[in-house]
């Protein structure tokens, strides 16, 4: 028993035993976890019905300019002349003057279509995802403007840095095959 060689071999036996157990454990865990039904990759998205437009999407993203962008479901839009998502609460004039606009970066474009209808679209390059227009649209309008994670820029972090800061628990993992939670589905111009 005191022989060093027998001691060594006993230790080796223990080591190989534990190595085998380790391999088996890792294998079992892998098998258990990979057997799940939904194997599809997930990406982050905002549930627009839970969003309260607190403004943290603009500040909490790991990117310099947030990956969250305002999204517009045209089929739901009322094409209002006085859009509460576009204009300051008490605009000087109902025109495209910067002093009348709610958007801090001028990312919402207003175009005349026919009397009295105006079309609003988002310039994604300018949008910072602050949600000011979304708030205005949800308060008094149809809610056709809402925030969505823009997957052309999102890094799909393992944990979305905005999701941990979101006070409304509006961030969800969705299947990468359907990466958006768009409103007004099934309507023309969805």
């Amino acid at each position: 028993m005191a022989d060093p060689s027998s001691h060594l071999s006993r230790r080796d036996l223990l080591r190989s035993g534990l190595r085998g157990a380790g391999l088996l454990g890792v294998g079992a865990a892998t098998g258990f976890l990979s057997g799940r039904e939904a194997k599809a990759e997930t990406v982050w998205q905002i549930n627009p019905d839970l969003c309260i437009q607190c403004g943290r999407c603009a500040t909490e993203c790991v990117l310099e300019v947030s990956a969250v962008k305002c999204t517009h479901s045209f089929g739901m839009c009322g094409y209002c002349k006085l859009c509460t998502g576009y204009f300051e609460p008490e605009p000087v004039n109902l025109d495209e003057g910067a002093e009348n606009q709610l958007c801090p970066t001028g990312a919402l474009k207003r175009e005349y279509i026919e009397d009295p209808y105006y079309e609003y679209s988002i310039i994604r390059e300018l949008c910072v995802g602050c949600g000011k227009c979304v708030k205005g649209c949800n308060m008094f309008g149809n809610g056709s403007l809402y925030l969505q994670v823009g997957h052309e820029r999102c890094l799909n972090c393992n944990i979305c840095s905005i999701s941990t800061a979101c006070p409304a628990q509006a961030f969800v993992r969705v299947s990468a095959d359907k990466p958006y939670l768009l409103r007004g589905k099934g309507k023309p111009g969805k």
Binding site: H7, S16, L33, L50, S73, M76, I122, N142, S144, Y146
Partner: protein, 438 residues
């Protein structure tokens, strides 16, 4: 009659208007005769389908790192490989996905059957562990971008005192337990949130993250791989796996004459000097003492830290959004809230303000936090007991050898060994036992 109807209608309209319910059609969309509505812009991710490429790069990186550290014994190979890994996993993939963070996905997957761990993430968790069980910590040496960035800035390694090294060596286990607790309860991925280098890889991020990363890099110039040794939770797991590895790097390619030339070669404190050989009687005595110590320490430590873990678990509840909301709702109900309403409560009110549901959820959450905290605490207690036993009763070592768990296979020490130089064809005189290095 008409008045009553009108009143009912007005009431209905007001009811609808007062609640800022999402997506109400207050203004019917117009029917344009000539204008067609544009499509909603919903761009897809660029360069998708890289997951399988990541796994391929990971697997070949692991194979190459093992080959360079064990078969070719080439530091140059390891350096080139770690530069490539730093470029690919670090700056190109921007630090995500990574093996360190994958612990949390696996923990969440095990605890929550509704969450499917992406297969690529699962591979990032599994492959380095399997390799460590066979060939040691090749992942740390050549594949992990976090390891690479620290390894490459190391200019003047200072020797850490043994006691400090042991104490700081406990931190990864605490971080691991805490990370698993928060991930398994679905609170947040704390290991990702406080990752020091991902901000550097992305050249963007919260200021605190960037400053922390830069500070750690400055520290890494003088203390070898500080994150790997004193924080990395995945390194803790790999260390255990490497303890049972079939093959691991050895300083000498064949024999050790205890010439002491390699003594200061390791900047990570992973090179152990020979232990004074015990004779048979001493060995049996110290073996018995160890068993006695473990028999007392293991259950005691598990119980103590299990109890502590349960307490810590419950007090970490506000880190879960539902736990935080419940705490806020409760303090509002008690009238303890002053000043502006927190956004959480604004959201709570807009979502229907169901207090009971929030409390019920919090009660269920509390028991999860308690149970997970207790088990993780107990597991931490076992690890700590084993660590203590190892400090008091180190294993016998006849020669200079790499540490079972600390060695990250960086291949620095190889060329300090005269036998390695002989193997490489460098004409050196092999020093006699115990006289080298003065």
């Amino acid at each position: 009659m008409t008045r009553a109807l009108l009143f009912a209608l007005t009431a209905l309209v007001m009811l609808v208007c007062v609640q800022p319910a999402p997506a109400v059609e207050r203004f019917p969309p117009p029917d344009f005769s000539s204008h067609s509505l544009p499509q909603t812009v919903a761009p897809v991710q660029q360069g998708r389908g890289v997951a399988w490429l990541d796994v391929t790069v990971l697997a070949s990186g692991l194979a190459l790192a093992s080959w360079h550290s064990l078969k070719r014994r080439s530091r140059r190979g390891i350096v080139i490989l770690s530069l490539a890994s730093l470029a690919y996993f670090g700056f190109w993939r921007r630090g995500c996905v990574c093996a360190i963070g994958s612990i949390q996905n696996v923990a969440l997957g095990v605890a929550d059957t509704g969450y499917a761990v992406p297969l690529a993430v699962l591979a990032f968790f599994t492959l380095p562990l399997v390799v460590a069980l066979v060939w040691g910590r090749a992942f740390c040496a050549g594949v992990c971008p976090h390891g690479a960035i620290q390894d490459l800035v190391l200019v003047k390694p200072l020797k850490m005192p043994g006691w400090l090294d042991e104490i700081l060596g406990v931190l990864p286990w605490i971080y691991l337990a805490f990370g698993i607790l928060l991930a398994a309860t679905g609170s947040l991925f704390v290991i990702c949130s406080y990752d020091p280098f991902v901000g550097i890889f992305r050249m963007a991020g919260p200021r605190i993250m960037l400053i922390g990363g830069a500070a750690l890099l400055v520290l890494a110039m003088f203390v070898g791989r500080p994150y790997c040794r004193y924080l990395c939770p995945y390194g803790a797991l790999l260390g255990v796996a490497s303890r049972f590895a079939k093959w691991r790097p050895t300083v000498t390619p064949d024999i050790c004459t205890q010439c002491r030339l390699c003594e200061n070669a390791c900047p990570f404190g992973a090179l152990n000097p020979p232990m004074t050989a015990k004779d048979g009687q001493q060995r049996i005595a110290s073996g018995r003492q160890r068993i006695v110590l473990l028999a007392i320490l293991l259950p005691l430590s598990a119980l103590l830290f299990g109890w502590l873990g349960g307490r810590i678990g419950i007090s970490s509840m506000p880190m879960h959004p539902a736990g935080k909301l419940a705490a806020l709702v409760l303090s509002q109900e008690r009238g303890e809230l002053t000043g502006t309403l927190p956004d959480e409560l604004t959201a709570f009110r807009q979502h229907g303000a169901d207090r009971q549901a929030v409390y019920q959820k919090a009660v269920a959450l509390e028991s999860r936090f308690f149970v997970f905290g207790r088990w993780l605490g107990a597991a931490f207690g076992l690890v700590l007991a084993l660590k203590i036993a190892r400090i008091f009763f180190p294993a016998d070592a006849h020669d200079y050898a790499t540490d079972d768990s600390r060695c990250v296979s960086c291949a620095r020490c190889f060329t300090t060994c005269p036998y390695e130089l002989l193997r490489l064809g460098v004409p050196v005189q092999v020093p006699k036992e115990g006289v080298g290095n003065g």
